[in-house]
Symmetry: C2
Subunit: 311 residues, 2 copies
């Protein structure tokens, strides 16, 4: 059932999120024409080679001309500059959105450049893989994942409703949230966990008495899951931590407090405290499966080396 | 190609690891008869119902009688008591092994009970899922995963070679390692990551301004991976931390040191340090995929909600 929502959509930045948006929009016929721009000529060439976007433009200005929706898919730290570049070329009545993992900083950087008569509806799809780049996208990335819309004050409800329809058409569930609350929730569910995973992987690499090859060979569940997280795009994550500093530091503070309590329980041999704590954490996992955010199949339904599902 | 290695194998404890061993042994025809015992009558009934083991016994003594191989598949903290219980009933020339995640503590607890003329070859298969219990096992769990053998001094090389053949027959790659080094390597690759994941999940649950339902709904990659780890068996993990205390505390110390350095980089806005760190951690992930410990498919090859592979 093809249901066009925007005549022309412009994707600025062509990584995992943008390329998956293109394939998801095509799958459902949500856009008449999709233009694309990436700063790197190599990325633009790759996009043309694999048929990513209907038209790849050599400038952002060209890409956004006549677009009904412009989606900024660049690292959070680059949003402001890109918004400034494209502002003079935006079509009156067009909507500008983004896919940044942090929302308050993006709003502060982008909103001042949005011209009169252009709508700005920030968004954040909660989906991704450890892969990045124009070739990493796939149409199913957003299926049954959440996309959070963070409309700024005074946003036209119709512009928000239209963007919601686009994300729902790409398979996502959509919620609206205030920017500051979004940044706190994501600090808990994504940003701090990523920093912790990066740290643990770094510790393993530093350790003298355990070789990298041992770490690599013997990393069963646990460390292996951390390395997947820690393989995510460094530039994107640098910007996330620099722009969601306060919430991340608050959650980190609570984390180290809790960690020290468990560390003390280990040191003093308090098995009851450890058992109680580990029992409590099981419930949340069940909830996540019930919420449809993951599969109940063992090992995430990971395929075994034999190619058979691990079930 | 059926290739029997032991005439009779006894599995003491019938959780994920033991039940997967049974199905893997059956798949390859590695054992003539497999007996099983679990302390809980409910577990024994379930095992009988689903056809787990050729014969379920109501006492450990009965299960080990005449067994050529006895594998202790109970939590690390229970190994010593179980070894003491079965010692009088072990067949001369039999081999006792285990599957504990910690090896020095298991050796200290079990070795004193092993009678003259019985071999003791500790082992640790590096495989698992977040599920537990007799119904959670499957034949492919050990395919292309590592199993570490930790023979104690003076062990008959033939007994070790025979156990190696069993694990290889169940699909695993086998290495031998010293007990103390094993415990350090696992503290890095598994034990500390698990404690960290448990902690982060607990923090999310404690946070007042973010509801559990928000944490659950919006946990994209990152936190979701942590919750899988943190859903593992509480008793098993309590025992791991109590019995691998020194190595875990050492790695935890290094971890917090590194974490504070990154926290400081965030606070001071040192984007270069963050970017350099995150870039370095990417390499280890590549190595793990090359080592065949994981799939390169996005999201671990997790199936999307639509049932299509996320590729």
């Amino acid at each position: 059932m093809s249901k066009q929502i925007y005549g022309r959509v412009a994707l600025i930045g062509l990584g995992l999120i943008a390329s998956s948006m293109f394939w998801a929009m095509k799958r459902a016929g949500l856009a008449g024409e999709v233009t694309g721009f990436a700063r790197s000529a190599e990325t633009r060439d790759t996009a043309r080679k694999i048929g990513l976007c209907d038209r790849i433009c050599d400038t952002a200005a060209e890409a956004v001309k006549g677009a009904d929706l412009v989606v900024l898919c660049v690292p959070v730290g680059a949003m402001g500059a890109v918004a400034e570049d494209i502002a003079p070329f935006l079509k009156p009545g067009a909507t500008v959105s983004d896919v940044g993992s942090v929302k308050r900083a993006v709003i502060d950087a982008v909103a001042p450049h949005i011209p009169e008569g252009v709508h700005f509806v920030p968004a954040h799809p909660l989906a991704g893989t450890e892969h990045s780049g124009p070739e990493s996208g796939f149409a199913e990335l957003y299926d049954n994942r959440w996309c959070l819309l963070v409309p700024v004050e005074g946003t036209d409800p119709e512009a928000t409703a239209r963007l919601r329809a686009l994300w729902e058409g790409m398979g996502a569930n959509v919620d609206e949230m205030d920017a500051d609350h979004h940044d706190l929730v994501l600090a808990v569910t994504s940003h701090t966990p990523h920093l912790i995973a990066y740290t643990m992987v770094g510790v393993a690499d530093d350790l003298r008495r355990v070789t990298d090859s041992e770490v690599i060979k013997y990393s069963a569940a646990g460390f292996r899951d951390f390395t997947r997280i820690a393989a995510s795009d460094p530039t994107m994550w640098r910007d996330v931590f620099l722009t969601n500093k306060d919430a991340t530091l608050e959650i980190l503070g609570r984390f180290t407090e809790e960690l020290f309590a468990l560390q003390r329980a280990i040191r003093t041999g308090d098995g009851q405290q450890l058992h109680d704590y580990f029992t409590r954490t099981r419930a949340i996992r069940r909830g996540i499966i019930d919420a449809g955010q993951d599969t109940a199949a063992p090992n995430f339904g990971r395929q075994t080396a034999s190619g058979e599902p691990a079930e």
